[in-house]
């Protein structure tokens, strides 16, 4: 019996190249079978729904999740409240506004821009420390430690604690992982434990920052006195956990997918070596071509809505397959070609609407810098395995390892 398209997306065998499945999906802009989620895969429909106030991100509005393989297990009372990713306005807007206060304009316009030289130093240090150029795991040696270090510095998490929250973050990311063979109860429990431990760790850190505030985000969130007032401790905890995990699990994939794509397009890599500015359009095209968040599985309808003639009932679970919309030939000419020179790259890679990626400017800067420096410094880099081994996760999709080799490291 043929697998449903939904299960094909989740099937690990398709992780290295899900795009043919998306192409199948797009034949019906609204895909729905067997009581499962409604899957939207075409560009314009996804974009519309991301701006549609009849769509909720709050799991409490879901009628039933029993047939949704990406549904989160019910949280226990003691667990952290949902981060703003899973809230609707006005709570979402208030939390996001408060979180943005120490991070970006209008209150902190120079935070990200001011990290440029620090980012550069971190990148240089990691490339300097690569060691044997004959066998490099780019994930382990570069794309993972880079954003982790950055998010630590931004939040004010001590570097020596990195290993601990590494484990928690991995577990939490895996809980979004739709491994159909895994026991959902076990998966839920592991995630719950990780969330609790991370929460306790952060609670201690927040207490410490309240006593001795620094200029890091956590200190400023803990001591904020803006128009929206201070965050409660629980809000602060869930926000910090959200930033930490999002900061961990997405940029690593963007950088790894980026280097993988460049190694598959050596002519672009060559151009980047001599023209570091090319990293700017390369990163935008990457966000279209290999977005680190492939789909948004956590939306639901507040009313019966009609999408391209299909009625999606109130309370239904929606999946918005961003990565498929990005390859929609109705929107992008020759969508399966990686082409940083296409003038028109209005991708869905970072979402759109009120939930668009909070860390987007940082992810952009990190990836631009990472790719241009890797291109400049690695001599004759090449893939040792193609495709590389992928992580299980179909939502936050990316290689588990990226084994590459090069002839040497330029100074």
């Amino acid at each position: 019996m043929t697998q449903s398209l939904l299960h094909q997306i989740l099937d690990y065998a398709n992780r290295a190249n899900p795009y043919p499945i998306y192409e199948e999906l797009r034949k019906a802009p609204v895909h729905h079978d067997d009581g499962g989620p409604y899957v939207i895969s075409t560009y314009y429909e996804i974009r519309s729904l991301l701006h549609d106030p009849r769509i909720s991100s709050d799991a409490r509005n879901l009628a039933s999740t029993t047939r949704d393989p990406l549904a989160e297990p019910a949280q226990e009372e003691s667990a952290l409240p949902p981060g703003f990713l899973r809230l609707d306005p006005p709570e979402h807007d208030r939390m996001r506004r408060m979180t943005n206060r120490p991070f970006g304009p209008p209150h902190s316009p120079h935070r990200v821009d001011g990290m440029r030289s620090e980012l550069h130093d971190i990148v240089s240090g990691l490339i300097d420390g690569i060691g044997d150029p004959g066998r490099i795991d780019l994930v382990e040696q570069f794309s993972y430690p880079f954003p982790v270090t950055v998010i630590c510095r931004l939040l004010g998490v001590p570097r020596e604690d990195e290993a601990r929250f590494h484990t928690w973050a991995d577990t939490l990311a895996a809980s979004l992982d739709p491994d159909p063979d895994a026991d959902p109860t076990e998966r839920g429990k592991g995630a719950h434990d990780a969330r609790m431990q991370l929460g306790m760790y952060l609670a201690g850190l927040i207490e410490e920052r309240r006593r001795n505030p620094g200029d890091d985000m956590l200190s400023q969130l803990a001591t904020a006195k803006g128009e929206d007032g201070p965050m409660t401790t629980m809000e602060l905890l869930s926000t910090a956990a959200l930033l930490l995990i999002a900061g961990h699990e997405t940029t690593v994939n963007l950088i790894t997918n980026g280097m993988l794509t460049l190694l598959r397009h050596p002519e672009v890599l060559d151009r980047l070596r001599t023209d570091p500015q090319l990293a700017v359009p390369i990163v935008e095209e990457l966000l279209r071509f290999e977005p680190p968040v492939q789909l948004v599985p956590q939306r639901t309808t507040l009313a019966d809505i009609e999408v391209r003639g299909v009625t999606i009932p109130k309370g239904a679970s929606l999946w918005l397959v961003l990565a498929s919309g990005n390859r929609d030939p109705q929107r992008f000419a020759d969508p399966d070609r990686f082409d940083p020179d296409r003038g028109d790259i209005q991708h869905l890679g970072l979402g759109s609407g009120i939930h668009s990626c909070f860390g987007a400017p940082l992810a952009r800067l990190e990836t631009q810098l990472a790719l241009s420096e890797l291109a400049r410094r690695l001599e004759n880099p090449r893939l040792l395995e193609d495709p590389p081994p992928y992580r299980q996760n179909a939502v936050l999709r990316g290689p588990r390892q990226l084994p590459i080799a090069c002839d040497g490291i330029r100074p």
Binding site: G104, P106, P109, H110, D113, Q277, Q346, S356, P361, R364
Partner: protein, 75 residues
């Protein structure tokens, strides 16, 4: 100098430009954007970053290859 205009009908306040080139772009409140309509040539790299990052592609910048055109009242 580089001339800049922003199509504020398209702008939805994602603020990517204000993060990446704060010398030129600033948020005025949560959603309104103010920008310097003219930037130093030295800002061109950051400006390119800001323009490329705009999710709604609202930022218009002088094309690099437009030759200086004599603009005067003379015939």
């Amino acid at each position: 100098m580089v001339r800049i205009a922003v199509d504020l009908n398209r702008c939805q306040g994602y603020a990517q430009c204000a993060f990446l080139a704060p010398e030129i772009f600033a948020m005025h409140g949560e959603e309104a954007l103010l920008y310097d309509p003219e930037a130093d040539e030295a800002q061109r790299a950051k400006l390119a970053q800001a323009a490329a990052a705009c999710p709604v592609q609202a930022i218009l910048v002088d094309a690099v290859d437009v030759p200086a055109e004599a603009v005067s009242g003379a015939r």
